[in-house]
Point group: C2
Chain length 233, copies 2
């Protein structure tokens, strides 16, 4: 297995360059990581979406509502840029690191572990991994997370569960973002719910507007309860 | 090389299930395909974007403006669904086939060729390939197209060239779609132009609203001139 691993400081955020081996047995690695995190009492949430769905804004709004209730850390994956981790840190004060995937389209369990090795885990209840903006590849790789969540934004259209079946199948939570612009788009929320439940009948759906904060309380409460229930289980 | 290849008729549109070999030398295949298409006088355009950027609507508007000037065929790639090819055919009357990638995140040159083998090329000037909705992987694979084009929609944000560098580097044309909703999003068109030109100083940028048709005449004229110039070269 080959990893290229560099740390370079920039605007107060740790940036980690990650390279992945193509020979890894990812399902095994993911299960091992999940067990290890369970022992350490750290809940890992894998947050996925298409580019531009509002992952970072949603995170900022959510983090500001949960940070006094549970201890959180964030890993922001991006192909190249550093803007997300800086934004998170500035807007929430929560420790965030940036994972550079070096052009890669997803994170697998070993890449996730490389990131986690650089997170101060002392007393942390929840680590949120913001995956690469992509509705295809990230769905295929178990990161070792307890749960997968995704954001679908209104401008993308309600038909996306038909077109990206695996992503909607593997997600336990679908956040529907940008509901404030619903009047300007042909987005049918009921059809969207129906299509999501075709892929995963158990999926929890939470409509929000990350820009105004509408609905984010529901999301924040869900997340805190999730983590607490899991820790007590 | 292994291909699984099935034809099944549905709603008047040919659906082709494609599987790709991992051993292909894609750059060589792409150059060979490009040369062959050049000999046959068929211009191939590779159209890429994130999910939900409006590729199909843009195509419909454009096709209706060019179909009396040049002869066009369309290949719609999708992981699973058939809605796009049906929509194109119904709205424009233009021959469209659906390529199923079976979960794969991109098309390479051999997959493109498999599609082209199912297109009636007689007298066709232009084939438009609508690639899988994904800003990462499709950028890495030369399809054999004469040019790469992409759509960035306003709700995705003007910072996308910073986050998906390769996609913006390989595209000769960037269509900025959904400009009608610009007032509802923090989208800075001038910054977007600047970021796009950081990646590719030669990129042509055409702002449109596919829903209302605004700007599509410019796009249609550009495309017809492109094809005609290429055929005469």
């Amino acid at each position: 297995m080959l990893y290229q691993f560099t740390l370079k400081p920039m605007t107060d955020v740790k940036i980690i360059e990650i390279k992945k081996s193509v020979f890894a047995d990812n399902d095994k690695d993911a299960d091992a990581l999940r067990s290890e995190l369970k022992r350490r009492g750290v809940y890992l949430l894998n947050l996925m979406s298409a580019p531009g769905s509002g992952k970072t804004t949603t995170l900022i709004q959510t983090l500001n509502r949960i940070k006094d209730r549970i201890k959180v850390a964030v890993m922001e994956a991006d192909i190249d840029s550093d803007v997300d981790a800086v934004k998170i840190k500035e807007a929430t004060g929560i420790p965030s690191i940036q994972l550079h995937t070096g052009g890669m389209c997803h994170l697998d369990a070993e890449m996730t572990r490389q990131g986690l090795d650089n997170v101060s885990m002392d007393g942390v209840d929840l680590v949120i991994l913001e995956n690469v903006g992509n509705l295809v590849c990230p769905a295929e790789f178990d990161t070792g997370a307890v749960r997968n969540a995704m954001i679908l934004s209104v401008p993308e259209g309600h038909d996306k569960p038909l077109k990206y079946p695996l992503m909607f199948t593997v997600c336990d939570l679908v956040i529907i973002n940008k509901i404030d612009v619903m009047p300007y788009f042909d987005f049918d929320l009921e059809k969207c719910r129906e299509y999501i439940h075709m892929r995963n009948p158990e999926a929890r759906i939470i409509p929000i507007c990350a820009k105004t904060g509408e609905g984010v309380d529901v999301l924040a409460d869900w997340l805190v309860a999730e983590v607490q229930n899991w820790k007590q289980a």
